[in-house]
Amino acid sequence: MVSPPFRRLLVANRGEIAVRVIRACDKLGIETVAAVSEADRDSLAARMATRAVCIGPAPARESYLKPEALVAAALGTGCEAIHPGYGFLSERPAFSRLCRTAGVRFVGPSPEAIEAMGDKISAVRLATAAGVPRVPGSERIDSLATAQSEARRVGYPVLLKASAGGGGRGMRVVRSEREIAAAMQAAAAEAQAAFGDGTLYMEKFIERARHIEIQVLGDSHGNVVHLGERDCSTQRRHQKLIEEAPSPAIDAAMRAGLADAAVRLAQRVSYEGAGTVEFVYDTDAGRAYFLEMNTRIQVEHPVTEMVTGRDLVTEQIRIAAGEPVSFLQEDVALSGHAIECRINAEDASRGFAPGPGRLAAWSMPQGEGLRVDTHCFEGYLVPPFYDSLLAKVIAHGSSRAEAIARMDSALARCRIEGVPTTVPFHREVMAHEDFRAARVTTRWVEETLLAREKVAA
């Protein structure tokens, strides 16, 4: 066996992604140290890792969001690398920089690349320079007068967005000039609270949009490859619920165009590691625009793994150790169709209210073409401190219809008791003719599915 890329690696995250990273390390022969908060001492990741160290109390800002504690934990346990997972510190340039200063490899891009892509205005500028079209919109908006004139130029409706933003926070749709002052104030306040930066910019609001993203991998030898697209249009309040690959909404020419654009952008920032270039696809105009680039592994990476047969997390780790991407672009072949449903501890019938609690029962389906990524087990206490993701069910089939059928039967076999889950919601979507016919847009869940239920109720 070839020698492992690292001897020991610190997992600076929790939940299913910590488990996913540990599995990848096991495969590569790397020892793992799980950095856990006090609430996660008994977690599956803590049990699976070679060792677990407690980095702080339950609240994330005192544990998973403390760069110094994580780097100190890595140094103190002899780790050569830190995997940040997604969320938490994964896209903080300061954390990547701190790792570099401390002599620990950060599994992800350079602080410079994170910085360039992290600031949305700078990212849009880079994308434009790389020939990646953006949604018509503005630069930084610093006054109401600018906002009004820019909105008139772009044309209503417009979308106000936070420059430092993501995840739907600090966003407002503005349909007329009367609404713009109040929307600006609200969006800036929300952005300030969420990101510590209230800077806004504006984009044309696309009424019927699909969310399409390209997975890329770059290495320190200058190679950048793409692994096709994912379609994450089934969202609620900009939070992805269902993802699939390939997209049922675009043709081969569009696919090739987006992939080329994503690779060009990644090359421009000497991108190292796994990254995702997100696009919004205007279904009416048949045009795609650059949204943002995420400089980390994504929650929905398994759908890409299922259709390409490539392991993105082991690639990430090898790249961090200075190895080249283990395959060439021409070796990437897509096979069949994959769908992922995020099973959250939320009650869809009560506005997706999160419900932590103890799992009285936990039994997940197994079978051909199925994969379940999870950190849950029977008796596990879903803590109230973190996000509500319990598991990701991924179904693969030779066609989209087969993947849907396989997913539906898998969902029917999930036996989860003790907390509310989004399983019933996903079953409803799988059965819906709009989803089956790929007519879903990014606001379909709220405007069609949930709106109709409200009328029916």
Binding site: E38, D42, C54, I55, G56, A69, A72, G76, L98
Partner: protein, 171 residues
């Protein structure tokens, strides 16, 4: 001291009881019964945890015997936890970092076993990325054990130093 009931048994009373037991050479087990409270103290290692808890929390009114806290995970608990001396109060790590007994290498340690400390005295340092945090004793008393290793990584909430609180001064 008047006849004690569970409600008026104070922290100092418990500390005194523990001191008596501790100083008696041939005593391994003591059981005291009050109205509504039974205090069970044993000298060997593992049930010591329950003793320490009883002492640290004078308001315990739970029916006896005071059981070890089930929420403390056995597997991942730091090794030093088992060494808790009966009656002593643990000074725990408020953060993960490197534990240092002295202000700098070569200097005298802040405290040694047997030394008396005031609540505000620094007993050790925890370094987190070149930032040194002074850790106070938190209680007046005598240092009875220092389970943490100088220069070693300590986890959040790990016991670093045990201090036997002073008996209450007579009025």
């Amino acid at each position: 001291m008047a006849a004690a009931s569970a409600t008026d048994l104070t922290h100092d009373d418990v500390a005194k009881i523990l001191k008596i037991i501790d100083e008696a050479a041939h005593l391994d087990e003591v059981e005291l019964e009050f109205a509504g409270l039974r205090l069970h103290v044993r000298r060997d290692a593992s049930p010591g945890e329950s003793v320490r808890r009883a002492a640290a929390n004078p308001a315990v009114r739970a029916p006896a015997p005071v059981a070890a806290d089930a929420s403390v995970p056995a597997k991942k608990a730091p090794v030093a936890e088992a060494q808790a001396p009966a009656g002593a109060v643990a000074v725990r790590a408020p953060m993960l970092g490197t534990f240092y007994r002295a202000p700098s290498p070569g200097e005298k340690p802040f405290v040694e076993v047997g030394q008396h400390v005031k609540a505000g005295d620094t007993v050790c340092l925890i370094e987190v990325m070149k930032l040194f945090n002074s850790i106070g004793a938190g209680v007046d008393g005598t240092v009875v054990a220092i389970p943490a290793q100088n220069g070693a990584l300590v986890e959040y909430n790990q016991p670093l130093v045990y201090v036997m609180p002073d008996p209450a001064s007579e009025e």
